[in-house]
Subunit: 478 residues, 2 copies
């Protein structure tokens, strides 16, 4: 970690905010950087030169993570203007730190050659990661520039799916032999002169890479230098395999307060390591995606995307919603005759549908979360259905009763009040049941329960609510 990286967090927060502020408020700065100002315009603006100089100073000053944050927080034009100022040798790191949703904008104006050049300061696993996920796939060109042995290792790494350990592990590890003394290990480390970032432990292996244990830096410092590695190492460490799910591994890191862990192949040979910084990124990404999915947004919906892109990323859910609303509308249409005889039904039916949607969404949010946290076992299914239906029954009796009484009083019609109470109760029960069943079925079908669950439950409680209420009204009031 460089010294630049480490400077006061508060000062950097201020500098980053200042940079964003300059670029998002002074349009002339952006225009000037994008070459859209004439010379006359440029010299007319007296604060422009100052602002430009300050922007340039801040860009050269701020470390990559802050530049990445600033890029994410700016609209399209300002984002491009800022990107032009980022030095070539910093661009790779900035891309790596920036979120996927802005990559498209940033590399738009870069040639393939520029892009490969920008990445050359990164570790090879970082390069591969970026090239695989950038909108333009340049992995072929990158591979061509590498020696054969490296190429083979990278091909292997590329096989691992996103969200697996293999895709986020690092190759750089320090290994030591069990028969070495701690003094020898220290001499070896001093000769190396540096360790990979976030190294809290070394790995103890045989000559052909079989993992025997871990040696924490702490252990080296706390024990007598004459002791041998094999005597003081942790002999039964937590390890992972490359095909394991990254989100699950993140839970293990959290549970065991791990800082790093070995990644081994099926034969127990050391392949690389996982570090907590990658895990923290996984956690942020995982939960961010969950939140977006529940709200019907796609993962690359960027808050500063232009209108055209935002329309494109959101139209699918809108279309689904329109279809379900249309179906609900046809259900109501089927009861046209009933409504024409008692128009009050039209004003009351959204209450029945709405309360069902609210309860269904509460239930489904809880179930989806509990599933993500692995708190739900197959055996709990019956309990959950019964519990949720119990809650719905009580709420149905209480709130349905209150609403029924109000309806009676408003329309002076006890029977209409009774229909209201019964319809609310039934719709709440259905909402609760479907709120448990929908995510369970989605998991059974191997799908992500968070995606679209809210849209689906609302569709069911709307259509069902209208049908139940208008159906009961037709039965009892006509």
């Amino acid at each position: 970690m460089s010294v630049l990286h480490k400077k006061s967090a508060r000062l950097r927060d201020e500098e980053r905010a200042r940079l964003i502020w300059l670029l998002s408020t002074d349009k002339a700065v952006t225009s000037s950087l994008l070459g859209k100002l004439t010379l006359a315009e440029r010299y007319d603006d007296s604060t422009l030169a100052d602002d430009l100089a300050e922007v340039e100073m801040l860009v050269s000053h701020l470390p990559p993570p802050d530049l990445a944050d600033a890029l994410e927080a700016l609209p399209y034009d300002a984002r491009n203007a800022l990107w032009r100022l980022v030095a070539d040798d910093k661009r790779g790191k900035v891309l790596l730190e920036a979120s996927e949703s802005v990559w498209g904008d940033l590399i738009e104006e870069m040639s393939d050659h520029d892009l490969l050049f920008a990445l050359q300061n990164l570790d090879i696993d970082e390069q591969v990661y970026l090239l695989q996920h950038l909108p333009r796939d340049l992995t072929g060109r990158l591979l061509a520039t590498l020696p054969a042995d490296k190429r083979a290792r990278i091909r292997q790494m590329m096989r691992y799916a996103d969200n697996t350990v293999g895709a986020i592990m690092e190759f750089e590890v320090i290994t030591v032999r069990p028969e070495a003394t701690l003094a020898a290990v220290q001499r070896y480390l001093r000769r190396l002169g540096k360790m990979p970032e976030n190294t809290d432990k070394l790995f103890v292996t045989t000559r052909n890479k079989l993992l025997l244990g871990e040696l924490e830096l702490q252990t080296i410092l706390l024990n007598d230098a004459q002791k041998r590695v094999g005597e003081v190492m942790e002999g039964d460490p937590v390890t992972f395999q490359p095909h394991e799910d990254a989100e699950k591994v993140a839970r293990t890191f959290e549970r065991d307060d791990l800082l790093s862990a070995a990644v081994i192949d099926a034969d127990g040979k050391l392949m690389g390591r996982l570090t907590i910084d990658e895990i923290v990124d996984v956690v942020y990404e995982e939960t961010d995606n969950d939140l977006r999915r529940m709200g019907g947004l796609s993962n690359d919906d960027d808050v500063f995307a232009p209108v055209s892109k935002a329309v494109k990323t959101r139209w699918a859910w809108l279309a689904v919603n329109l279809c379900t609303a249309f179906i609900a509308s046809r259900v109501i249409d089927g009861f046209e005759h009933t409504i024409s005889q008692l128009v009050a039904l039209a004003s009351l039916m959204p209450i029945v549908a709405g309360i069902g949607g609210n309860t269904g969404n509460q239930t489904i949010t809880m179930i989806v979360r509990a599933m993500a946290l692995q708190h739900i076992q197959p055996g709990s299914f019956t309990f959950l259905i019964l519990r949720e239906m119990g809650v719905a029954l009580i709420n149905g009796i209480v709130w349905g009763g209150i609403m029924g009484a109000i309806t009676w009083w408003l329309y002076d019609d006890p029977q209409l009040g009774g229909v209201m109470t019964l319809a609310m109760m039934l719709n709440l029960l259905m909402a609760a049941m479907m709120g448990v069943i929908i995510p369970m079925v989605m998991v059974k079908l191997g799908r992500d329960p968070a995606v679209g669950s809210s849209v689906m439950i609302t569709a069911i409680t709307d259509t069902g609510g209208f049908f139940i209420f208008l159906g009961l009204a037709t039965l009892f009031l006509m």
Copy 2:
């Protein structure tokens, strides 16, 4: 970290799953542990003895984090049965690892004395944290058992609000003086014999605790033993103050790949440190809470809570929802005359309301997320409003147009189709605008924009949608 902690993650996953399975499927095990079986019943069941023995073995075997997970994944009875098996000296750690939502169940049957006894193996900051947040507040009793100087420090710590650095920092730090040689530091560490968990660096201070810098364990190992601490330390470290917001600090940890950081007071004196394991917990909690709040659930809504508790934690949102639905219903009621003349309006109005709700929720989710990630600056407000309204306008023209055409065809009424298109467009525009304004206003008022934003936007798009559609229909069709 004990050896027990470190055993194979896979094996532990299996053991934990097995324990949960045994307790959630074999009711006799739970009943027997809770003393609800007669002797006859006990001896009739041949597998019971085996299952009981296995449960006991697993409980004594599994480390606290896994026991905590198992407790969270079990219904009330089984949870209590399992808790009875947990050894006294493990209970403190298990409580610490378990989520807040199960604490009430677990300590229900424990006396104050048992509880204080269970906590005595924990660090003092952990004890205070638990006692402050457990449903029963025993801080007074704990404080009484402590010497005066400790009591003062704890009183001070208790002053910090939840979600601040002060509430999650640890007091245990190792400090060294700048003039010491690295060899002397190594001798000192060996004499100490152990370091606090997750120590990746020591702190360099003056005699009266003024923080001068940080000394990573790496640095001790990589440099010549004759060098002085002051020569090789990091002199400008990232530090935090106790009143800072924990979620913001978590972002800094992520951005800078920190493993630990010093906490200092206003005079620059070292108070304690933050470690990445606490930060990971903060991240999980933060995002979990966001998800729950957006879905209208409270933070202590536990998936295995009994019906009575679930009714209590959820009734507030249900009541709010019912009120807003009632208002929407009154708006429709105002147009009773219009609807009675053209019943088709009753079936079409939910489409207008629904599409507005969908768009509003997409917008608000995106804005709330961007705010949490600090991607939105005051200057972006106009851009966001205009962008979202642009998206809404396009969607309104396209989907409103399609729906208008379908309406025309279904009811053979071009004017009704026109009203449909116009109403959808207007409601989408309103949804987009309110989706930006609501969270912005809530932040201005110092409130959490995630809480209730979804309920609020749905209320507005429903009421507004009905009003716009029925209002336009009254104007143009009557």
